[in-house]
């Protein structure tokens, strides 16, 4: 690939919800991501012999499960790893969009 701009790096960081807090880190990622993408770009040169896409890693079809309720978590289990709870609710800081 020709070039990977800082804006593009910031765009993918934004997509991935990873903040880049300083210029040094940004430059490091800019270099490293370009390095990886240069290799990945080689795929453009590869010619496939049929157009079939491998959507599933297995040959068998999915088996469906009967619509019968199974075990659910107790409140203690839900609480065990949740960082913040308020009553029975999972609490997060204010959502800003919408």
């Amino acid at each position: 690939m020709e070039k990977l701009s800082k804006e593009e790096v910031l765009h993918v960081a934004r997509l991935a919800r990873i903040s880049i807090s300083d210029e040094n880190t940004l430059e490091k990622y800019q270099y490293q991501l370009k390095e990886l993408l240069d290799n990945i770009d080689k795929i453009k040169e590869v010619k496939g012999y049929d157009e079939e896409l491998m959507f599933s890693p297995v040959d068998h079809q999915a088996s469906l499960q009967e619509d019968v309720p199974g075990e659910m978590l107790s409140f203690q289990e839900v609480k065990k790893n949740t960082p913040h709870m308020k009553g029975n609710f999972v609490e997060v800081p204010v959502m800003i969009n919408e």
Partner: protein
């Protein structure tokens, strides 16, 4: 001081049956070994108290199988109920799962005893285990060298004979490559052979759990224990589980073996090529035929792997957001800030890099240019392998291009970790089973491994060849340092 853990599995089993030893003896001995080898940094979490308790509880239980009462290490990306599971990440530093992975249920059902969680690359991303938040494990053959990755802790544990058994996971060589670097037997089964339920996903279409052991027979035994269909994993196969030890010891006369030219090209160290050639000669002398062939697209496998693995990883790791479990950045003013700070601080560099590249590859038009193209060529490569297996029983080659190298080398080269796995990645892309067995040492006395690839669900045939070579080569692979 007794060294029961050096005995063969049958010998230990006899002693247990005769009540000459108890599981407690084995677990205590295991922890003595672990404690005198702390410098290997092979474990992230030890399970001593619980393990001893379980061993005690086995006192009155009938010894009903060969794995009974034996200690095992479990890679730390396989969830264990009430036993911390970190994926070697700050993100899950304090994560104590509320359920067991299916493989964990299965080994518990055999009354195996989990002694601890093995160190690894963070979220299994890496080829050296140096991306672990908890520091790198070391190679027992040379402690200044890497153990390989991502299942580096599991490999170091078995190589140093801390436990006879370990579970690893293999997305792009993560069982076979460290097994090669550390001189042990490692099997990545056919995709779908072992349930992934409870394996923290890196790349769902590639991930597979497998056994890492000191010899071939014990490897097949552990595969017997963990295989099988699981209703909780839709990708797990309905193919019937067979006894994977059934062909062990059978002669290899008439076996048709292929070596892909690419696997013996100049990307591989000459010392390793020489060792593999010796093996090929040995096979021919014993009545097998060996042909050199071409498999389409193997030279593109790393590129395909990068696209598919990083693409899937970017999605699989989106759940680590500080909301329901794991690290949660303090004092976030709003949800966006919570995400950004949690993921910036909670993930290490390699992981962040791969998530960002994966997001890029799936974004907008790139999904077509890169991802769909990769899915199409992946399908072609799989077909090419299948074609080869219409003629050949097995495919072999070296497992790695070099032996284990020094810790700290090339840490900032983002391509290095992929190139280490260039020979093992095609197997994951095609969903096939692949295994490493040690075939000798290089001049610095570091292990060299042979890579055996089978057709899907033909693990038994792979064990047949592996056990033949194991017996034929008769290597001394014991690296224990006894106190």
């Amino acid at each position: 001081m007794s060294n029961y853990l050096d005995l063969s599995i049958q010998e230990i089993n006899n002693l247990l049956k005769k009540k000459e030893i108890t599981p407690v003896d084995l677990v205590e001995e295991c922890f003595r070994r672990i404690e005198s080898n702390e410098d290997l940094n092979a474990f992230i979490t030890l399970n001593k108290e619980q393990a001893l308790e379980e061993a005690k509880a086995l006192a009155d239980v009938e010894v009903d199988n060969l794995l009974f009462g034996l200690p095992i290490a479990v890679k730390d990306n396989i969830v264990t109920k009430d036993l911390r599971t970190t994926c070697a990440s700050k993100m899950l530093e304090n994560f104590v799962p509320i359920y067991d992975a299916t493989v964990v249920e299965k080994i518990k059902a055999k009354h195996m005893i989990i002694v601890g969680k093995a160190n690894m690359d963070e979220f299994a991303m890496g080829s050296t285990s140096q991306t672990s938040y908890f520091g790198s494990p070391r190679n027992p053959w040379n402690k200044n060298c890497i153990a390989g990755g991502s299942s580096g802790g599991s490999a170091a544990i078995v190589a140093a004979r801390l436990t006879p058994f370990a579970l690893g996971s293999d997305t792009g060589g993560s069982i076979r490559q460290p097994a090669s670097y550390c001189g042990l037997v490692g099997m990545k089964p056919t995709y779908g052979r072992v349930s992934r339920y409870g394996l923290v996903a890196f790349a769902s279409s590639l991930d597979q759990i497998g056994p890492m052991t000191r010899n071939v027979y014990e490897n097949a035994l552990l595969l017997n224990a963990i295989s099988g269909h699981d209703d909780k994993d839709l990708t797990s196969s309905y193919n019937q589980v067979e006894d994977y030890t059934r062909l062990i010891g059978k002669e290899i006369k008439g076996m048709k073996i292929a070596v892909p030219n690419y696997f013996m090209s100049d990307i591989v160290d000459s010392e390793i090529q020489d060792k593999v050639r010796e093996v090929i000669e040995c096979l021919k002398q014993n009545g097998a035929t060996v042909d050199y062939i071409d498999i389409d697209y193997v030279e593109n496998a790393v590129t395909l792997y990068q696209i598919i693995a990083m693409g899937e990883a970017s999605s699989n790791l989106a759940r680590f957001d500080g909301v329901r479990f794991g690290y949660s950045a303090p004092d976030a003013q709003n949800v966006e800030e919570l995400y950004l700070k949690t993921r910036e601080t909670g993930f290490g560099d390699e992981v962040k890099r791969r998530i960002m590249v994966g997001s890029y590859l799936l974004s907008g038009e790139n999904a077509v240019t890169y991802y769909n193209k990769a899915l199409s060529i992946r399908d072609d490569m799989r077909k090419s392998f299948r074609k080869a297996f219409q003629t050949y029983d097995l495919i072999i080659g070296p497992t790695t291009t070099t032996v284990a190298y020094s810790l700290g080398q090339d840490l900032d080269d983002p391509m290095k970790s992929f190139m280490d796995d260039v020979l093992v990645i095609p197997v994951n892309m095609a969903g096939l089973p692949g295994m490493n067995i040690p075939i000798g040492m290089n001049q610095d006395h570091m292990p060299i491994g042979l890579h055996i690839i089978g057709n899907q669900f033909e693990e038994a045939k792979m064990y047949q060849l592996a056990s033949f070579l194991e017996k034929e080569l008769n290597l001394d692979l014991d690296r224990k340092e006894r106190s």
